[in-house]
Symmetry: D2
Subunit: 179 residues, 4 copies
Amino acid sequence: MTRTALDYDDNWLDPDELAHMRRRLPLTYVHGLPVQRGDDGEVDRVGLLLRTLDTGALGREIVGGRVKFHESIRTALLRHAEKDLGTLALPTAPLSLTPFHVAEYFPTEGVSPYHDPRQHAVALCYILPVIGDCSPGGDALSLDWLTPHEAVSPEITGEMRHGQQHIVRAGLAHLGILP
Amino acid sequence: MTRTALDYDDNWLDPDELAHMRRRLPLTYVHGLPVQRGDDGEVDRVGLLLRTLDTGALGREIVGGRVKFHESIRTALLRHAEKDLGTLALPTAPLSLTPFHVAEYFPTEGVSPYHDPRQHAVALCYILPVIGDCSPGGDALSLDWLTPHEAVSPEITGEMRHGQQHIVRAGLAHLGILP
Amino acid sequence: MTRTALDYDDNWLDPDELAHMRRRLPLTYVHGLPVQRGDDGEVDRVGLLLRTLDTGALGREIVGGRVKFHESIRTALLRHAEKDLGTLALPTAPLSLTPFHVAEYFPTEGVSPYHDPRQHAVALCYILPVIGDCSPGGDALSLDWLTPHEAVSPEITGEMRHGQQHIVRAGLAHLGILP
Amino acid sequence: MTRTALDYDDNWLDPDELAHMRRRLPLTYVHGLPVQRGDDGEVDRVGLLLRTLDTGALGREIVGGRVKFHESIRTALLRHAEKDLGTLALPTAPLSLTPFHVAEYFPTEGVSPYHDPRQHAVALCYILPVIGDCSPGGDALSLDWLTPHEAVSPEITGEMRHGQQHIVRAGLAHLGILP
């Protein structure tokens, strides 16, 4: 099998097939926690996406999505960053593939802190420094840059989807700035 | 969907279906690097499996395999440890799900240090301390406990499959004992 | 200089000399966060020491203290574990010297989350699994095994000294069990 | 004690006093492994300093030195980077204070892979991405940007001082590019 033999068309996995696989295998996911650094090099802002949910309510998420067949983790992370933050966000890929956290999403609630009714997914979570201008795309209404205190406030954590407030806090703890 | 609604039969994913999915999605894998600790608490031995390959030649591997649908990373790791090391190995599950290394296996050679012609797999690699007696099962001929020097010698690395000598060295580096 | 030439007497650094050095150099510290694991291998309890402070009030701390001249990090960690938890605690030294967190204590408040009026110290923080019986020694009144929820409750965090509640939360986040 | 009460003069610790303390306490050190990233975000070059040793021979080192009293780890790392790489190197401070490796230097050979006849030092090792122009200062003759293969070749490792070739390899393993 050679690389050129692969069809890299975005549509090669049709929705029915993906839905089927989501019930048969754990999907490999990547997450990026968008951050901005202050003058002293320490992170002082965390970026959270605001989306309209299927129910019409609003919900918050971090950057991320699944890794495609034959796609590297770094490429997948930068692809999702571009999709979610726009083409001018200038994110920095992680130096090491060792994630700061691994989130296990289960379709059953309560098995882990993370829940996704569509699927079982194993998500590698990375810090994603961003130095450009973000213009959230797709179904995201906005990207809000929050202080660590705001990011872990009850108002914000109450809006996080799929238990992702735990990823935010694990990220802040990794960075040494969990309030 | 409830947990009890799932069929946990080992055979629920038949070989044809698995072979098909291996060409459509990256599989989530776990690896355990079996280690033994000396009296001072430092690791002094690494365990490598010796297997007969399809070609009839011999090859070495570390513990591991895929994560099943709705299976946690720790459960998958201990299931593969039992399959590869026997029921009396007494492995210790990792305290944290943060792996010491992430290995990306691609079906194309040269994309990364790891190559598996069957599939694209993303493998989370953990140190697996073992205190019991190992009796390798399945298709493994033996489990050999090697010193760090032996484990990275040309004789041994030349027998490692799929580029796993890089996982062994990353593990030894993480443990501070890479010769 | 040979190892045998060193005087390993506990008293070789007299209090005046130590007090002087504490104002001249950052001290190297180690911390161990005592934990117990449940049947599934996940940590379910965290151990916190309760001490009488100089002021007569009570305060909570985790295991730890300074690294002595020519003492390894693992030896220092196990020495402090024995001093704080007794000789029957059976702690497990960390596999890797990579800490889950680095705490910078400054004599000035507000420079970092950690404050120690006596000194500037750089503390490497490790998870310390304990499987034996703990009988706190020295000036510790008790060792209390708390659930993650209890360990981060306002009652407990309000009793933590030197900002160590941040180490507890970073440890729980590293273990994937921060509530 | 307030911050303003401190004397931040570089000379406040005279050589005799420092030499004395080096025999009494472990010193806290920081190391930065200078790296350059390729277009795909992966590190492809490692920077090693070439110095003239006291003996007149040449030796290689990575960036680093001790942390001063009341100095943060990030500040110390950037101070040593400026001293060793010049003012135009534009290094990036680490996002997290969790090091990829901890090196224990002992004055006695053979206790650990690291040896420094002057002192016992505990060194926190960080990856140090550099995007500017390096002009090595102080006693450094040059900074050479090497491929991972060159950096671990016998010619180069034979020139590394104090066992620092182990830090280089641990860094490359952490980055997933150890040859």
